[in-house]
């Protein structure tokens, strides 16, 4: 190959590298102050910064099988992936990553986000919306003796029932709700008579709960809520519940609840409608209700909803999100069509926004669990970049010093090759859309030292050839040729370990492996092609010099 062609190839490689690294317009989704997000175009070098450099959050999610196994896990995770992706896209993070890893894990990366709890809630919330009618038949009261018996057989509640504190709070409850129960009208009187009969007993469960007067709504003293939750989660109690009914608890801090008490509801198990018909959900600040999420159903859902609500006029409908009743169930005054709203009970607007978002994106087909979570604040990322740059500069300075002092002119040529190496490595990283991470930066700095290894091999060979009395040209040729096998072997062995690192590593370690691989490729070309060409040019210019500064 002639020198001309060699130079042309090198120039072409440099041109491609510069092009790959040239700042270009990138479309980025930016969330604006008003909560909307727009695609914005910015200009920047196309090197993606990893989470540890930009700050942000990394989440790994798996199917939560604590409550029963999932039959087709792979299908479930695929569907969940779609939902999570929609949610994240709407969340408005720039350049998020949502991908499946292996067969049963979802990785979510959110650059620039450091509100950990909010992002986690957004991702793993099931967002399964159901509308269920509250129980009108007092089914719970009728099955209470049976439930108490079940609990007694399990040895539960004997201690709790005799505690004097409970009796006191139960008295308070009685007072509270007898005055309140005027509201639902004449049914309340009958209620009280019947419930007194049952609830007077000191059963494990019946001593803790009290009907509020609204159909299907029961109050529990705040401090007993965990006990009651536990009772209802026992399989034996589940089995003894009235058929076709489910127990659902109210949301925490619900404005509808009396202070000191929590509510739970007995609902018809069959929902009259679910969130799958939902087409839109928007956060709204209502002057009376405070923050609400208003939603819209599609035509099919709207028809069904209208027909169902028509049949239930005067009844109470619970809005159940992820098995938690949202607000106090409203009474249905007339047929409802395609629109409705969910009250947020005094929660901030952001909560309404997030709820609207997950409702729009749809429900998760399975419950997800966070198995790994990493958050890096933006200031740490800035520190890391600064440290990486300083280390890189110092490393380059030291290597240049060593090369030029030890090999003089040849060392200078090697440094030129090193410049090509740095440019090409970054270009390869940009070209393969690799992510630059802190370990990647470390790998890059490290490889600056290792990249000159090939030059050492070659130059030491040239020295030996010169020692053997060969002419400069023959010594250079001989040096390159004989160092060749060692160079290839060293590159291949290192590449093997880098490839294994890539295969087995996650996130940061992968960044390191990618940087190392890119560096190896660039160093191979730099040492055996670029530096050799520089030598050939020098030979031509110096008209076959008799001595070589090496």
């Amino acid at each position: 190959m002639s020198i001309r062609n060699r130079v042309l190839i090198i120039l072409a490689l440099i041109a491609i590298s510069v092009y790959a690294l040239f700042p270009r317009d990138v479309s980025v989704r930016v969330r604006h102050a008003d909560g909307s997000f727009r695609d914005t175009t910015i200009r920047r070098v196309p090197l993606k910064k990893g989470l540890d450099l930009s700050g942000g959050m990394h989440l790994a999610l798996e199917i939560d099988e604590a409550q029963g196994t999932v039959a087709d896990r792979e299908d479930a995770i695929d569907r969940a992936l779609k939902v999570v992706r929609t949610r994240i896209d709407e969340f408005g993070v720039s350049e998020p990553v949502v991908q499946k890893v292996g067969t049963d894990r979802i990785i979510v990366e959110l650059p620039g986000i450091d509100d950990r709890e909010r992002a986690e809630a957004l991702v793993k919330r099931s967002a399964f919306l159901q509308f269920q009618m509250t129980d009108e038949t007092r089914a719970l009261e009728r099955s209470l003796p049976r439930l108490d018996r079940v609990l007694r057989d399990l040895g539960e509640g004997t201690r709790v029932a005799t505690a004097s504190g409970d009796t006191a709070s139960r008295l308070a409850l009685d007072q509270l709700f007898t005055t309140d129960s005027a509201a639902p009208g004449d049914t309340a009187a009958a209620d009280t008579a019947e419930t007194d009969l049952v609830l007077g007993a000191d059963g494990a469960l019946s001593s803790l709960i009290q009907p509020t007067g609204l159909p299907g709504e029961y109050a529990v003293p705040e401090e007993q809520i965990l006990t009651v939750r536990r009772y209802f989660s026992l399989p034996a109690v589940q089995a003894a519940l009235p058929p076709g009914k489910v127990v659902r608890f109210g949301a925490e801090g619900d404005a509808a609840t009396q202070p000191g008490f929590r509510t739970f509801y007995v609902l018809d198990a069959r929902p009259i409608i679910t969130g799958e018909y939902l087409t839109d959900a928007r956060p709204i600040t209502d002057p009376i209700e405070g923050n609400v999420v208003s939603f819209e159903l599609n035509n099919q859902g709207g028809r069904r909803f209208r027909a169902e609500t028509q049949r239930h006029i005067g009844d109470y409908m619970a809005i159940v999100l992820d098995d938690v009743v949202q607000g106090q169930p409203p009474v249905i005054r007339g047929a409802i069509g395609t629109r409705g709203q969910i009250t947020m009970s005094g929660k901030p607007l952001q909560a309404a926004q997030d709820l609207a978002l997950v409702l729009r994106a749809g429900a998760l087909p399975v419950k997800l669990q966070v198995v790994e979570s990493r958050t890096i604040g933006p200031s740490l990322g800035e520190d890391a970049i600064r440290q990486g740059l300083s280390a890189g500069l110092l490393s380059i300075a030291l290597v240049v010093l060593i090369m030029v002092v030890y090999y003089r002119f040849s060392g200078f040529l090697a440094v030129c090759g090193l410049a090509f190496y740095g440019l090409a490595t970054l270009a390869i990283l940009a070209g393969f859309d690799a992510v630059l991470t802190l370990p990647g930066l470390a790998g890059f700095v490290l490889s600056i030292g290792m990249a000159v290894d090939a030059n050492f091999l070659i130059f030491e060979r040239i020295r030996e050839e010169l020692d053997a009395g060969k002419t400069v040209r023959r010594a250079i040729d001989g040096g390159f040729d004989q160092a060749w096998s060692a160079i290839v072997d060293t590159h291949v062995t290192t590449a093997l370990t880098a490839a294994i690192l890539y295969q087995f590593g996650t996130g940061p370690v992968r960044g390191f492996a990618v940087a190392l691989l890119a560096g190896l490729a660039a160093s191979l070309v730099s040492a055996i092609f670029v530096v050799r060409t520089l030598f050939l040019i020098w030979l031509q210019r110096s008209r076959e010099a008799q001595s070589l500064s090496i």
């Binding site: 790994a60 790994e372 979570s373 990493r374 890096i376 604040g377 110092l394 030890y406 030491e460 062995t493």
Partner: protein, 333 residues
């Protein structure tokens, strides 16, 4: 021409006893220390929660500890990170990990709550949170070990193909020695084994292997041209001939690492330490360990007549895998 270690004729092989004694002296205390202290694993491997928190005013560590243990998180490890304002809180005991069964993030949330109760909401910022569920931890542990073995296996196969199995075995054993010494070093320095550090160990594997390959490449070449010298002399000569390169590459790589040690910050530093030591020991073993090992292997499993011999008898042109390589590098002309 500036030259170091030029034309040396050091008898490295005869010093194998000194090298062996040095190694035993270095590694033995680690064997004693191992059952006492053991390795320190990062939360990636054990599972658990790590939080780096920056306080506006430096808090009393005892204060933070008691607040956390009152909230049901006893035995949490707390240390300052850089400045007294920055704390790293590690909850990686088994009981903490068990609390994460329901979701990796639970302990982190609890720590945040406890801190805001004790110190006030705006008094601190969480700089970094890492929460790893127990399942991910054990998975990573297994992966790291598998990765190390595959790295060895693949390199052995490659070297056996490029050279021949005796060379490969000697290179792998010498590298194994480097790993053991590096692990001992980590034990002395109490360096935590994190994913990043495992990455460093694997890089040491690559680098060390690399170094042995260069020496053995020279041995192979000398074997081809020199049929008279004994293998022992030949090995000595090869090590001496490659010595300038071995030392120069080691020092430039160390220079790069020096930059990382100075500027790398607390995250990079353990990684840089492991690499720095690994490169020093790798260079040492290329000179003092690999060749004696090869000699030992050649003596133990000496070649049959007719087979390519390393003892310096005239040979039939041997089935040298390197003959398959192109004479000229592609694109070199």
């Amino acid at each position: 021409m500036l030259r170091i270690l030029h034309n040396t004729k050091i008898d490295f092989i005869s010093r194998w006893r000194t090298a062996a004694i040095l190694l035993v002296v270095f590694i033995l205390p680690a064997l004693i220390l191992l059952p006492i202290r053991g390795f320190h694993y990062s939360i990636e491997f054990t599972g658990g929660t790590l939080m780096q928190v920056q306080f506006r005013e430096a808090p009393q560590i005892a204060d933070v500890r008691s607040a956390l243990s009152n909230a049901g998180l006893p035995g949490v490890e707390i240390s300052t990170f850089g400045s007294p304002n920055e704390l790293v809180i590690r909850a990686q005991e088994e009981e903490h990990v068990a609390q994460q069964e329901g979701g990796a993030e639970t302990v982190a949330s609890r720590i945040t709550n406890v801190l805001s109760e004790r110190f006030g909401e705006g008094e601190f910022t969480v700089l970094r949170t890492e929460a790893v569920g127990p399942k991910v931890g054990s998975e990573l542990r297994r992966q790291a070990v598998v990765a190390l073995f595959i790295a060895f296996g693949l390199t052995l196969v490659y070297l056996a193909w490029r050279f021949e199995w005796r060379f490969g075995l000697a290179a792998v054993l010498a590298t194994l020695h480097d790993i053991v010494a590096t692990l001992a070093f980590m034990l002395y320095m109490n360096i935590e084994i994190s994913l990043f550090v495992v990455g460093a160990i694997l890089t040491v594997v690559g680098y060390s292997m690399n170094d042995k390959v260069v020496v053995f490449d020279r041995v192979r070449e000398n074997l081809r041209s020199d049929h008279r010298s004994s293998l022992r002399d030949l090995l000595n000569r090869s090590v001496n001939e490659t010595l300038p390169r071995t030392v120069m590459t080691g020092s430039t790589t160390l220079a790069s690492l020096l930059a990382l040690l100075i500027f790398g910050g607390a995250v990079i530093r353990p990684f840089a330490w492991v690499l720095a030591f690994g490169i020093i020991i790798g260079t040492f073993s290329s000179i003092y360990v690999a060749s004696p090992l090869l000699l030992l292997i050649e003596r133990r499993w000496s070649r049959k007549a007719g087979e390519a011999t390393a003892k310096g008898k005239p040979r039939v042109p041997r089935e040298d895998p390197s003959a398959a390589r192109p004479k000229e590098p592609a694109g070199a002309r």
